[in-house]
Amino acid sequence: MHSAFTRSHALAAYTVSVLAGLTFACFVTTAFRDYNADTTINTVTVLVRNVPDYSALREKNDMGFMIFDLKADLRPLFNWNVKQLFIYLTAEYETPNNKLNQVVIWDKIIQRGENALLDHKNIRPKYYFWDDGNGLRGNKNVTLTLSWNVIPNAGHLPNVVSTGSHQFSFPDEYTTTKM
């Protein structure tokens, strides 16, 4: 502490230490929050095609397509330790080949300050819903579930599966016409 340089050095080091402590305290205040919320999902149109998957083996695979509605109030999830939410919609289903298939078909990033009251009508999937075979046609039990990652300032990264999912079945016939 004998010169201005050592004093500024000590001051900066101490400030950063206090900042680290405050950040940890901020994490502690939100560590045990429940980040769950209720969602409402509805499918408007559901169809399935049988088309070659050029991204894989060029064999004809089932590709599902649906237009859906999504309603969720994610505003209570935000607090001072949440920077953004990464929400994603997964389709889960069972086929003779696999006990559990999970395909992400849509996602969205909600940053802090953006509108977190979701009320989307007629969303189209962002990503292709490919099956690795022919397991979609006539599949009676496909579940759409919304999940999210909570991205904090400091702390762990919760992965939450929301309550409120939607079950639907694919038609028994392939769609061949263009929409």
Binding site: M1, R7, A10, L11, T15, V18, L19, L22, N79
Partner: protein, 99 residues
């Protein structure tokens, strides 16, 4: 103004150093605490960081430059004794031996 005065005007005395350090820590802790409470109330951690930054600036202004209040208790050194030529030679030799 002699060399000694000029030197003293740049440096805090020991007591001043201790007080400057204590004061800087009190300011940082106080601003950190207040910032934490305020940030929690408005649920904005960036405000907490900003208030802590304000405390840093205030502490820097108050405790880094050697203000006169940190120079109130200078050490009273003994007067420089008149040097004898033999002593300085002797000191030089002992230093060389140590190395």
């Amino acid at each position: 103004m002699g060399l000694n005065d000029w030197f003293n005007s740049l440096h805090m005395d020991y007591d001043g150093q201790a007080r400057a350090e204590k004061l800087s820590r009190i300011i940082i802790l106080l601003f950190g605490f207040v910032g934490f409470i305020w940030g929690y109330i408005i649920q904005q951690f960036s405000e907490t960081v900003r208030i802590l930054g304000a405390g840093f600036i205030l502490a820097a202004i108050l405790t880094i430059p050697p203000w006169p209040i940190y120079r109130r208790k200078p050490l009273s050194w003994q007067k420089v004794r008149p040097q004898r030529s033999g002593d300085s030679d002797g000191e030089g030799k002992t230093k060389k031996k140590k190395q």
